[in-house]
Amino acid sequence: MSAPAVITGIGVAAPNGLGLRDYWAATLGGKSGIARLTHFDPSGYPAQLAGEVPGFVAEDHLPSRLIPQTDRMTRMALAAADWALADAGITPAELPSFDMGVVTASSSGGFEFGQGELRKLWSQGSQFVSAYQSFAWFYAVNSGQISIRNGMKGPSGVVVSDQAGGLDALAQARRQIRRGTPLIVTGAVDASLCPWGWVAQLSGGRMSTSAEAARAYLPFDREARGYVPGEGGAILIMEDAEAARARGARVHGRILGYGATFDPRPGSGRPPALLRAARTALADAGVDAADIDVVFADAAGEPAADRAEAEALTALFGIRGVPVTAPKTMTGRLYSGAAPLDVTAALLALRDQVIPPTVHVEPCPEYGLDLVLAQPRPAKLRTALVLARGHGGFNSALVVCGPE
């Protein structure tokens, strides 16, 4: 039973482009945003590459009232929400407050803000710590700030399941629409490219320590050696299809189906559950594997996880049975922001009938994947599958299609 939920607005802050237009042009052009860190001096850390969002000046987009109380991730989320609402042609002040909610995902909260306040605590004393630390670090803060700024009092919340959360938030938004709220602001923006965030990410042990931007993050490649982290993501406006039609909204695409699973305990001998998440999403969408025209892969960039994803895809579609792509090779892994950005790329791919490329990768032939490499590939596209996995065993899958 597919839900009548549509995407009518998109706002993007990505390492290879700020704003939807720049992001999509860069993504089709194969332009990577992965480079040596500039937010802080990474000398002395084992990993030094990241995908930083270029040219985002918060003061250009937000009132000064919001600057002292927000982390970088929240500033980008607020700006992206503004762009998404504008893209959807929505003026929140003209709508009933309780008809609009906010459901975003988060993976780490506002690390850079927290680092600054911890520094003040230990170097100057507790009386120097900002009162805004009480919420600026918090997972739910992007949802809260978007809600306050736009007067949205409908059902709201945050989902925390690492990278999978980016899809889980969209699913939760769809649930709220099914329950009767006509509009939910959803998606996610994460950013923790500061020293404290960096050591926290390094402790996971899955980051690439390569210093070569074009060789550091190589999912499905024999040389896969971990991932490069990035910042940013996408904020999406999801609406009840009837409500969107009634107001004559331009629709980017429809959410057809969703599935989420949790991996069995390591060492249990049971298979990972990504395949079941994908099958669940297809069943929810009421489509067969043969109906899927392109897959946006999770693309962990770590050999065992790449193999597991490839096995799930070949089990579902057969050897080289469907075009697969990972435009996140141009951004790095954005944690909760990754999947909403992949959904964005999927919707634009459906619109333009072209699959964006996976860059820098020489695919391992044993995986049996038809990876779209180096150049965008024109194709007849009606339906796309987006996959996302979160550290600790989260698997999520989302099926989207075009406006009709």
Partner: protein
């Protein structure tokens, strides 16, 4: 010796640095008797502003001083009362 008075300009400077200004609010207008809530400052913004005043002037304000002062004039008067007490002590 007179204690350096805490003025509206001092308050505006500290408000801006601690909590910024809301869209559509002109702090250079007639704001002395405008409620902080109308100016776009909620309790947390005032807590942050109070903390900055305490640090800059080396004083300690009771929480009630900040929560009870609902306009710039009330807060300025409360801070000045505190400064003159502190100066006399």
């Amino acid at each position: 010796m007179a204690t350096a008075a805490f003025t509206l300009d001092d308050l505006k400077r500290i408000l801006l640095q601690s909590a910024g200004a809301a869209e559509g609010v002109d702090l250079d207008g007639e704001i002395l008797d405008t409620e902080f809530e109308v100016l776009g400052y909620e309790s947390l913004a005032l807590l942050e502003t109070g903390g900055a005043i305490e640090r800059e002037y080396g004083i300690s304000l009771d929480d009630e001083v900040i929560t009870d002062a609902d306009t710039p004039r009330a807060l300025i008067d409360a801070v000045n009362a505190h400064l003159s007490t502190a100066g006399a002590a």
